[in-house]
């Protein structure tokens, strides 16, 4: 009985919550073609004028765009669709990591006990 109560408690405490006004999410766009510095600057300036954008970095050396946004104001897919509509880089795609990608790397965000417990209990429910 106590174990069940503990499981419910951990689930309630650690479950993903609805994003609020301070939640920031990062997204990545791969252009899949060469972009130059001038266009990188144009894209950066254009993005900063869009609703819900927090910060932007467009790297012409790797042809990758990184931006953070407030999910209560916009979504990454909406931003990317608008980007495609306004710029000539039709091959661009939003990079979405797979479950497997998310399991690896980034050692500083390593599994804490609560994270392991959350995942364990999430699979039960």
């Amino acid at each position: 009985m106590l174990s069940a109560v503990l499981c419910v408690h951990i689930y309630l405490v650690t479950r993903p919550k609805t994003p609020d006004a301070t939640t920031i999410v990062m997204a990545r766009v791969d252009f899949k073609q060469d972009i130059n510095q001038e266009d990188a600057d144009k894209i950066t300036n254009w993005l900063y004028q869009q609703k819900g954008i927090d910060h932007v970095l467009c790297n012409p050396a790797t042809d990758i765009l990184i931006f953070t946004f407030f999910p209560v104001k916009t979504s990454a897919n909406e931003v990317v669709e608008n980007l495609k509509a306004n710029f000539k880089y039709s091959k661009m795609v939003r990079f979405i990591p797979s479950e497997k990608d998310l399991q690896g790397g980034c050692p500083v965000a390593s599994n804490s006990f609560s994270y392991k417990a959350y995942n364990f209990i999430r699979h039960i429910f």
Binding site: V25, M26, L57, I66, C106, P107
Partner: protein, 175 residues
Amino acid sequence: MLPCILITLAFAPSCKKSSSSSPKTLYDSLGGTTMVADPSNPGTKIEQGRLGIRSVVDSTIFIIAADTSINKYFTVLLAEVTAGNLSGFSALSKNLTDFFCVATGAKDFTYTGKSMTAAHDPAQNSRMNGKADAADFTQFVNDLVAGSKKNGLSDQIIGRLGTIVNTLQSQVVQR
């Protein structure tokens, strides 16, 4: 009771003197515990040293995320929202900021993650999908320097930060 108070008072000035003569930590050089407005959270205050470190960390994370030589280790940055209402970006920003605050001499924060050796050892950390090599570490340092420059840190401060980071190389590089 009274003798205790007298002893405490007698030692208080000397304690203060010794602490004021202690060398400035890197955290102090970045503004230390002076409270300033937090630009990311209107209406709240943040230690200036932590704000400086968080700014460098966030800039560095952006650079790493767009750096194809090491961004494969950091795809978790692109996770939307996880437990505790933090996205992968926010969680890494907080963890790295905590780590560097402690490493640079902050007293008001703690880093509760794994040790650098354990964190980078696939046998001890299932998130680590392979051992990092010297080139990975060098590229991380390069990105950290670029992030520091974006935030206007002086070469002298960057050098001190580099000294701290380089002490971690033997723990991080495991092949």
